[in-house]
């Protein structure tokens, strides 16, 4: 029953609910900057106006990283909609990132 519900949610038309991301970066380091840019672009292209990004600089706020079990930067966590997803790296591989964030259905 649960599985069917999940299936329904996946195949359903894109619901315009707000996507809440938390992106952990290390200042303006190269990969962190790329991750910021890539996430902003992906959101702009796929869920424009339906997203919220909380950027956490681990150089300033390391406790937040600890709380979220972040080991490396850049780390992107999709907090909402559940289930929670964690993506590591500079988010350059758009296709993979979209698949991980369950946004690839919107591409079509």
């Amino acid at each position: 029953m649960k599985a069917r519900k999940r299936e329904k949610r996946r195949t359903a038309k894109p619901v315009r609910e707000t996507y809440f991301f938390r992106l952990f970066v290390a200042g303006n380091e190269s990969n962190s900057s790329q991750a910021r840019r890539n996430l902003a672009r992906i959101c702009e292209e796929h869920i424009k106006g339906h997203h919220k990004i909380d950027v956490v600089d681990v150089l300033k706020d390391v406790s937040n990283a600890h709380k979220n079990n972040v080991l490396v930067t850049p780390t992107l966590i999709l907090i909402k909609p559940v289930p929670k997803v964690t993506v590591l790296g500079n988010l350059n591989d758009t296709k993979q990132v979209l698949a991980a964030l369950r946004l690839n259905g919107d591409e079509r």
Binding site: S32, V72, T86, G89
Partner: protein
Amino acid sequence: MNNQKPPYHELETKMKEAEELIHALRTQQVDAIVGERHVMLVRLKQAEENLKSSRNQLRALASYLLSARENERAVIARELHDEFGQGLTSLQLGLSWISRKLTPGQKPLQEKIKSLSAATTNLMRSVKNIASELRPGVLDELGLVKTLKSEAREFEGHTGIHCRFKTNTAKAKFDRSAAVAIFRIVQAALTNVARHAQASRARIALMKRKNGLILTVADNGKGISRKLIHGHDSLGVTGMRERALALGGTFTLGALRSKGTILTVQIPLSRVITGVSR
């Protein structure tokens, strides 16, 4: 059954996360590692690029210095040959003219002229040797293979170390600067054999193979330590390595399993033999 599901999924998720972490580290997409107390920045990508560019710069500089030195040597050799050679020849001619003018009664003077003439001849020989050491004229006249053959013969004559030269490139036409580089490597290697190896035999091989031109210089001496191979103070080795790398080749130096030392230089054929396409 259901009770076993959550731990399994947890494990699967952890595995996926670990794989992702390894991938991110491997592809150098990680900027910082968040530790228990510290955030450690990892600037691998940038550091690697900086290192690469520094290496390239150094290599270019070394290559430039080597060619500048070779040019400078050629100039000095020419000057020596032209200026000193001609001057000494005129001196020799003058001395023999004076000698002819002397009467049999002027014996002490004749003896003096004779010794001066012998000294001049020695000086002329020295100048010729220095000039050919600076710029091996035979390399231009006879080509690389014959020059190496004569170098091996001379080495044997000077040191008493039996030296054999083998090649399958007798008909090949070598690029000029590559020929100079190979000759200098052989010269430096033989100098090392004479100075440090305590060997009784040496062999030089210049072989054309599918994977490039392979130069080996081996001896049956006491071998070489790792420290000497990688040490920065062994200028001779560094010079040989730089010459090989400047030609896009590789340089290895090591101890032979049996006894002695072997030096191997591998250079792409396109960089050494004219008429071979890249």
